[in-house]
Structure formats: C-alpha cells, structure tokens
C-alpha cells in the first residue's frame, strides 16, 4: 500500500507521529508492504491529520486519522472522503504557489523536479538579464502585507551598483491567523530556495538570509535540511546548477519579537542588534543589511517566483483583479468549520470566503466579525461581506489584506475586549523607538478600560488613534488603529456607555 501522511506542524500538533508509528507497527505485524511517504499539508485543517491512500494513481483522503483508525485504514475498510482533489475545498482552488505542498515529499529534490521544480531557475539562468523584467511583468506584489511591486524592488537593488548585496527572506510570520509561510516551508522548501536563487541572480547578490521565527521549530528543521540538500546537489553554492554564478543561503532564527517582521527591524536583528525600527529613507533596497543594497521579500513572494518563470509572467498576471494580479494563499482561521489554506485568484468577496468556503462558524453561531490581515488588520462586519479580496478594494473598505489571514469570530465576541487586546498587543510588542506607539498603546489600554467601566471616551480613542496612525514610524503603531477603530465604529453597541445598564 502506498500511503501519504501529513507531517505538517498541525498534524504533529494533533498526534500524527503516534499514527505513523502505529501504521509501521501494524504493517510489520501483518507482513504487509507499506510505502509511507511523509508530505506537507493539503491545507484542509479540519481533516488533519490527513492520510491519503493511492489507488490507481489517485489519492484518496482519510482524516482526521487517529491511532484507532489504523487497522481499518490498512484493511481498506475505513470510511473516507473520496479522491482528495475532488474535495470541494481543494477542487475550487487555483494552486500556483502551493501546487506541490501536500503532494510531494518536501525533502526530495527528485520529487520536486518531477513536479515542475527548477524549470523556473533554468529559464532564469538562460537569460539572467531578463529576470527583473519578468517579475515586473507578472505583477507580483509583496505578499508579506505591504503589497509593494516585487519587480520594482528588485530593479532598485539591481541598479544599485556592483558591490555586495543581499537577498533577505522574511519568514517572521507573526500575524495571528496566518500560517502560509510555515506551510510552504514545511511542504515545499525548495520553491523558496529556488525563488531566492532567482532573486540573487536577478539583482547580483550572492548571499541570502532566511529570518525565520523561533515559534516554528518544525519549519526550521525542514528548511535547514532542505538548504543542506540544495547545497549538496549544487543548487546552492559557488556554481548554481553549473552556471558559474554563486548563491548561498543562511538560516537565522528569530527570538520571539513580533516587530522583527517589519523589514527594518528584521535587518537590525540580523545584524545582531535590538530589533528596533529604522526610519525610511534610506530604503533597504539601497541601504539595507549591513548598509548594503538588500531585497527583503516575504516567503510567499519569493516562493511564487519559480512558477512565474516556469509558466510565464503572462500566465501569472492572467489571474486576479485590477492591480492585484495572480493568486493569494488565503489562510482561513479562528472560529470556522472548514479552516486552512485556500489559494485563489484575487477578487473573491469576503462573504463568499467566510460563508461558502469556510462554512461559517465551528460553533454554529452567527458570524459577528472577521479580522483580516493579522493583529493590525481591521475587523469587518457582515454588512461589508461584498468587499472583493484585493489590495485596493480592502483599503477602500477601511482595512487591509496584509498577509491574507482571515480570522472569524462568532456573536459571543466582545469587540471592546478585541480593541483592548489590539492596544495591549502593541504595548507588549512595541520596539520602543517612537513615542506614539510606545506610549500610545499603553494609554490606549487604559482608555478602553475606562470605557469598559462605563465612561464615554470615544473622542479620546479616536484622537489617540490619529496620533498613532500619523506619528508612528512603522505599521505596528501606525496600523493598531485599524482593529481599534473598526471595532469601535462597526460594533458601537459593545462600547456603549454604561452598557451593563442596557442589558
């Protein structure tokens, strides 16, 4: 029997290693030939740990799988979900960046190549001078949250003289509700390595750093091994795939500071300093790591580069909506029936994502609010569910898509508590460099507490948020007003003075 078993952190966090051990033991006891292949996650979180049995070349899904299910699974008697790729959640996606995740053995370079891997890098090597223009033509924008055109950033670094330059991958995925970087790294790490190599060739950098958060031990282990394998295979090192060009990658572990997901804090952290924000300008593209021109891109931006070269920039740009080209790996999280990773072209209305794809709340109660874009993203109310998923569209609706985390809350949620948490989080994670963020967040918690006690402090909260938004150096202080003000204006009943009297 050929069996694929998820080794994603989610599966491990749900006990998949016990299932794997039971499978091996049971197969041995039966004298049965079992080919067990560990893969990343298909992204259907409610089916994890997911096992897939291959029959006539088609994988059939079983999950969530427990140790008790093992004998029936090997008997072929366990009830399943049919062919994995026919499950509506998966069948309705457009997987470009995540095409291989959950499908291949993440640490098999042969498997990677058999599924289109390295085609992009070979094309890029054939015409290095066209690399930057290809990325510009694809319309790819930074998937970390800011949405800056990736190709334009590369062009700036490429034009910045001939000295030492760096490619820095931001894998400090700290936003609650996001796990795309983690899943990609655990399920298809070579795509990130290939994307970074193309970036290095394109801008003239020979050194890459991946800054990955310490909260992701499984991803760090997979990535560390993948870089070693890539080096042994000549994909990294002094002579990338025999091209005569050099590129190598070093992995650096973060240390639990959310603000280091901000690119200039990240650069300071890599240099061995406190992760405080730098004022811009100078842009990191001109004066970045150790003062040298530096590309700083998110994991998903870089891991999308290979497929752009493999299938052509026009193919990638043919997906999407307006200036939001291509696909976005949505991360559906929180209180939902069907959570997980859903890669699709930009443009889906938020309500369709929440109601149809996610199936509403896990608790079965009405949806009250949806926070999009992490702890600095706005809370959307169901009245805004017609907003199409795109950078400009969400901006126009008073929010942001960020790294595309979508966190659903049911009607038991107290939005005043959520606003308080937004300030509290900012206070805990502020780097302390600028006053609006450092002091404003603390005052914000105090003001919300007074509102909870019945005082009408609405004007003061709005004034404080204006100061933080306009006066902060980076998005931590600058965007904390999004969750606070969206909660305040869209859910005013939760902030009503003396609300206990009204109940």
């Amino acid at each position: 029997m050929k069996l694929f078993l998820s080794a994603d952190a989610v599966a491990k966090a749900l006990g998949v290693e016990d299932v794997a051990a039971a499978l091996e033991a049971e197969a041995r006891a039966r004298g049965m030939a079992l080919e067990l292949i560990r893969v990343g996650s298909r992204g259907m979180a409610w089916l994890e740990p997911l096992a897939e049995v291959e029959r006539d070349g088609v994988r059939h899904a079983f999950g969530p799988i427990t140790v008790a299910d093992v004998p029936a699974l090997l008997d072929g008697a366990l009830a399943g979900h049919g062919p994995t790729e026919d499950i509506p959640f998966l069948a309705s996606q457009t997987r470009l960046t995540f095409a291989r995740v959950g499908v291949i053995d993440p640490l098999s370079l042969a498997d990677y190549e058999a599924h289109g891997g390295l085609v992009g890098l070979r094309k890029a090597l054939a015409d290095p001078a066209a690399i930057v223009q290809t990325v510009i033509d694809s319309g790819l924008r930074g998937r970390g949250g800011a949405g800056f055109p990736t190709g334009i950033k590369w062009q700036t670094v490429a034009a910045a003289g001939a000295g030492r330059k760096y490619i820095v991958c931001n894998a400090d995925e700290g936003d609650s509700g996001t796990f795309a970087d983690r899943m990609l790294i655990e399920g298809d790490p070579f795509s990130l390595i290939e994307g970074m190599a193309i970036a290095g060739l394109g801008v003239g950098a020979e050194t890459g750093f991946i800054y990955i958060r310490s909260e992701y031990p499984d991803a760090i282990a997979t990535l560390t091994r993948a870089v070693e394998i890539a080096r042994e295979a000549g994909l990294l090192g002094g002579d990338v795939l025999g091209s005569g060009r050099g590129f190598d990658i070093e992995i650096r572990e973060g240390a639990g500071a959310y603000v280091c997901g901000e690119e200039t804090s990240l650069l300071n952290s890599l240099e061995g300093k406190r992760g405080v924000v730098r004022a811009k300008p100078p842009l990191p593209a001109l004066e970045g790591l150790f003062g040298k021109p530096t590309v700083v891109n998110n994991v998903i931006s870089l891991a999308t580069v290979p497929v752009i070269f493999e299938k052509g920039p026009e193919h990638y740009a043919s997906f999407g909506l307006g200036r939001s080209k291509g696909t976005m790996p949505l991360q559906i999280a929180g209180n939902v029936r069907f959570g997980g990773l859903y890669e699709t072209a930009f443009g889906l209305p938020l309500g369709e994502i929440v109601e149809r794809i996610a199936g509403g709340t896990r608790t079965g109660r009405a949806v009250k609010a949806v926070q999009v874009g992490g702890p600095l993203g706005a809370y959307f109310a169901p009245q805004q569910f017609d907003t199409p998923f795109g950078y400009e569209e969400f901006d126009g609706a008073g929010g942001l898509i960020g790294h595309a985390g979508i966190v659903v809350f049911d009607d038991s949620t107290d939005m005043l508590a959520q606003a308080r948490f937004a300030f509290e989080f900012c206070a805990v994670e502020s780097c302390g460099k600028c006053t609006p963020c450092r002091v404003g967040a603390v005052r914000g918690v105090e003001v919300i507490d007074r509102m909870a006690a019945g005082e009408d402090m609405r004007d003061l909260v709005e004034d404080l948020c204006e100061t933080m938004r306009d006066g902060s150096l980076c998005a931590l202080g600058g965007f904390t007003p999004y969750p606070v003000l969206s909660a305040l204006t869209r859910f005013p009943d939760d902030f009503a003075p003396h609300k206990e009297a009204a109940e």
């Binding site: 966090a13 749900l14 509700g177 796990f179 499984d218 240390a255 500071a257 896990r362």
Partner: protein
C-alpha cells in the same frame, strides 16, 4: 539537565563557534540558551569582549527579545497562544484554566520549578486552535487537561 552554572571556558567555546557569521550576536545567544537553558549573566562580558561591543549593548539586545532568559526556566515550558485566532475559539478560557490548574501566573514557574508558563503570540496553528506548545512541541485543539497531562508525564 543543562549545566546551569557553566565555566567561562565552556561559555567562550560556545561563543567562538558562532563567530564566523556576519552579525553573530543572536546566534550566540540562541546557542548559549540551547546549551545552558538560559544565557548566564557571566556570559555578557565574554560576548561583549568577543564582539568588541559594550556590555550594555549585549544586555540591551538580550533583554529586547522575549525568547532569551537570564535565569533557567522550569523543567517544562508551556507556551499558550494569546493571539486573535485562538481567542476566537476559547483561547482565553484555555489560558485561565491552564494557569489555575497549574497554580501559576503568566511568566511564572510552579512550586518546585516544574513548569514555566509563558504567553506566545501565534504558533501558526490558527485553524486548529486553541494552540499551545510544550517543551518546543506544538499542540493543537489544546485543553487544560491535555496540557497538564503533558507536563505531568
């Protein structure tokens, strides 16, 4: 058990192993903490000397990051996610129940040094919350009972 009172020579050997890197301070601190369970105070002047920076700068970097400890943690470290996606599925109640069951506070260590409990802001298990981590191993669909059982084993 890690050696919680290492000699200067042992510390210096760990520092030297990371000096070949560009910007080696975080790798040094991680390495010391992995080896000794914390970053001993006696390491600060040794790091400062090795990197030719001030002791205050080493202290400043170390204290900036949530991960680094100046004193050893309990025998088990439980991290419970406090972030929004876990809040949406009972994360606050989980944390309260776990802290009550273990008899400690955030950042506290239980009597006898058995368990240290810390908040964490997202473990990337956001569709399977509430999430926690015990001694570096992630736990999804966490309950106070599961957490207590894990550290009692």
């Amino acid at each position: 058990m890690p050696d919680t009172a290492p000699s200067a020579a042992a510390i210096s050997a760990e520092i030297a192993a990371e000096l070949h890197r560009e910007g080696p301070l975080l790798p040094i601190l991680h390495r010391l903490q992995k080896r000794f369970g914390h970053v001993p105070e006696t390491a600060v002047p040794l790091i400062a000397e090795a990197l030719n920076i001030g002791r205050a700068e080493v202290h400043g970097v170390m204290s900036f990051y949530h991960d680094f400890r100046a004193v050893p943690a309990g025998r088990h470290v439980v991290k419970i996610c406090r972030a929004e996606a876990c809040q949406a599925v009972g994360g606050v109640a989980l944390a309260e129940a776990a802290l009550a069951a273990l008899g400690t506070e955030w950042h506290g260590t239980t009597a006898g040094g058995a368990v240290t409990v810390e908040p964490v802001y997202c473990l990337g298990l956001c569709a399977n919350g509430p999430a926690a981590m015990v001694d570096g191993r992630p736990m999804a669909a966490a309950t106070a009972e599961k957490l207590v059982a894990e550290v009692s084993a």
